[in-house]
Amino acid sequence: MERRPLLGDEAIALGAIHAGLSGAYSYPGTPATEIFEFVHRETHNGPPVGEGGVHAVWSANEKVAYEEALGMSYAGRRALVSFKHVGLNVAADPFMNSGVSGVDGGLLVCSADDPGMHSSQNEQDSRIYAWFAMIPAVEPCTGQEAYEMTREGYELSEKLRLPIMIRMVTRLAHSRSGVELAPRREPNPLRPSERPADWTLLPANARRLFASLAEKQADMLAWSESCRWNQLKLNPKSRKLGIIAAGVAYNYVCENYGDGAEMPSILKIGAYPIPKRLVRELIEAVDEVLVLEDGYPFIEGQIVGLLGAPKPIHGRLDGAVPRTGELNPDIVRKALGMPAVARQSTPTVHLPARPPRLCDGCPHIDSYQIVREIMDELPETRVFGDIGCYTLGAYPPYQTIHSCIDMGASISMAMGAAQAGMRPVLCTIGDSTFIHSGMTPLIGAAQQNTPMTVFILDNSTTAMTGGQDSMADGVLANVVKGLGVDPEHVHVLQAHRKFHDQNLEIIRREVAYEGLSVIIPTRECVVTAKKK
């Protein structure tokens, strides 16, 4: 069999392609970006969907991506939607309802969590979303499992008529290993849904469907308790400790027992709902249990519940494992009560921190220099920031950002602050983030003529995630005007130091204006420009 070096993300992408994928949908976000990119790279020279090919075009945001995928499923074909964990918040509306409506063509949703927050604002755990939507989830621990779970996930999705979640974590998403591949299955033919009432969630339909989803829970549990992704290995010789290890945590356990030490009884969890019968069998066989899971104490919390478990359960909740942060083999080793491995000690010399920074020549630097000058002239100024490379403006030497919450929040939070009476209020958002979630609040700001100055930093790309195409390219100023912003207060500027003085003059005037202004400093990202 062919063995190909693949990132965990790429293994999911190829698993989907080989399962007969017809459409891949996504918005860029670390650590999920490479899933869609791989599908695109592998299929964009192929035939159109009608002739067995794959549709792969970035969506405006995760909600749109999810809904496009639902449409593909409605048409009977297989779809993959992928995004980072916080992208699922954006897509939560269609996601929650798609469990109720069910699906026709297989639908897999990969939500890539970021324990340790390598590139994120929070550590939310997508397994809780799967539980919330009452759908099955799988959690691979290797690239090989990611490939096989994805392939088989489509069968399960069509059998249960439910979307299936693949829960990824950064560590596996960005880990490369050799993966053995199987032949590609033909895509589904076009077969529009014959149950339009199920796709129409009027209350009368939704009540019926939600009851049916509740009934499916028993089937889901039966699947999870018998599928090969959940494996209980009892060791009758060692009664004291039992281990439950989910996803990559299982790798860290095996690593620490790799020297020939005897592995205690262990339940490996790779599929949800949590396999209740297997958990009970493990607890009955041992004196106490250690739960190891990356992310929230989801399994541990379910076992302990409100009233406690019959035997001691250890994990993130009782402090045996740190409550937050990414797991690694060393944390797991300590939780297993094993002594630390001998190692070299670091020589004593000052090691300066080296945080990420804006690239030399970055157009955002020119914009932030002007914002800095405005802040120096008007010390009351507050700048509401957003998600992208320009969030790095929070670091010295710029220090020009006073908030960063989620995609699009710069504009909406600036509105609220202006409504509260703060002056002057500025906000900065990138062109791609503006298309993602900035347009909607800007309509309201235009209608109310909210006194604030919006900077849409247009570098013609989605830079932070590696330079994906931006839908704003070439249309930004027209979109802004079309949303109702007074054209006299919309300025497209060239973000370059040779235009510094005239740009500063315009911006000073607009900051003083008691109404809505939109400044669009424009210059291509230096990284994407260099690649051309």
Binding site: T30, G258, P329, A342, R343, Q344, P347, L392, M464
Partner: protein, 277 residues
């Protein structure tokens, strides 16, 4: 066999290319590998690290456990020191001598290199100079790969084939530059370690090797240079090697013996003896 590597550097220095070459060589050699990359925000000029494990049996963790590392391979000296505690007591550090200064509180470079030189198993190579000699300053990553190659447990011809594959899309010239950089790094590493074993200090070895063409020092020259550095002329030689004077050192045993023999008057003749025009 199990090799556990920590690749360290600054975003943009080419860690991904090193990983690619090692991954391909491991596959061709029938070995298993796992490689945890860094993507996203950390790439923007920040510190980056990649864990790379190669083994003939199943690899469980994507991350190298502390104390199990066999090699820290660093394209930047400060970055090498961040990960020393991953190394087993016999693990090796292979680092560039050349700093990437993009932070205001970067320490004095020699203090960093001297700290690396206290480690029991280390190699320092002048990656920037060797990469430029090979044809491109961007090939520092391949210099380091060459210097670290004896610690990888992978066949050298497979590594070179991996390099050609990694740069296949860039054409024959870039391929050759990178293979040459790999070979120079390997030579410089092979020069540095015997120097230390012979009793030459790290500073002396760094200074000498940074002047050699392609990092090559004949094995028979090592005791001769040890002799030079032990003579009264030794400090003057070190000063000449680290001076701004332009020139490549002729590192042959003959030159070393001439310098040692004519020691008293070497002050004036030193540059002409030491450097090629």
């Amino acid at each position: 066999m199990e090799t556990n590597i920590i690749l360290a550097g600054v975003g943009g220095q080419g860690i991904v290319s090193i990983s690619f070459v090692i991954d391909m060589a491991a596959i061709w050699q029938g070995l298993k590998f796992k490689q945890a990359e860094v993507h996203g925000m950390s790439q923007r000029g920040g510190a980056v690290i990649s864990h790379l494990r190669v083994s003939d049996s199943t690899i469980h963790s994507d991350l190298v456990p502390k104390g199990r590392g066999t090699l820290v391979l660093a394209i930047e000296p400060v970055e090498s020191l961040r990960y020393v505690d991953f190394l087993s007591p016999s693990g090796a550090v292979v680092s560039s001598t050349d700093p990437y200064v993009n932070v205001p509180d970067y320490p004095e470079v020699d203090s960093v290199l001297d700290a690396i030189a206290t480690l029991p198993n280390h190699t320092l190579v002048p990656a920037d100079k060797l990469a430029r000699q090979a044809g491109s300053g961007r090939a520092q990553n391949m210099v380091l790969l060459g210097a670290g190659s004896p610690f990888l447990g992978l066949q050298e011809e497979l590594l070179e084939r991996g390099i050609r594959e990694a740069f296949a899309a860039k054409g024959e010239k870039i391929q050759k530059t990178n293979v040459d950089a790999f070979r120079a790094g390997k030579a410089a590493g092979a020069a540095y370690r015997p120097c230390l074993a012979a009793g030459i200090t790290s500073r002396q070895a760094r200074a000498l090797i940074a002047r050699l063409i392609g990092g090559v020092l004949a094995p028979d020259a090592v005791p001769a240079w040890k002799d030079v550095f032990g003579q009264p002329v030794g400090p003057a030689v070190l000063a000449a090697l680290t001076s701004d004077a332009v020139g490549k050192a002729n590192g042959s045993a003959d030159v070393a013996r001439q310098i040692a023999a004519s020691a008293p008057s070497a002050g004036d003749q030193l540059p002409s003896l030491l450097f090629k025009a």
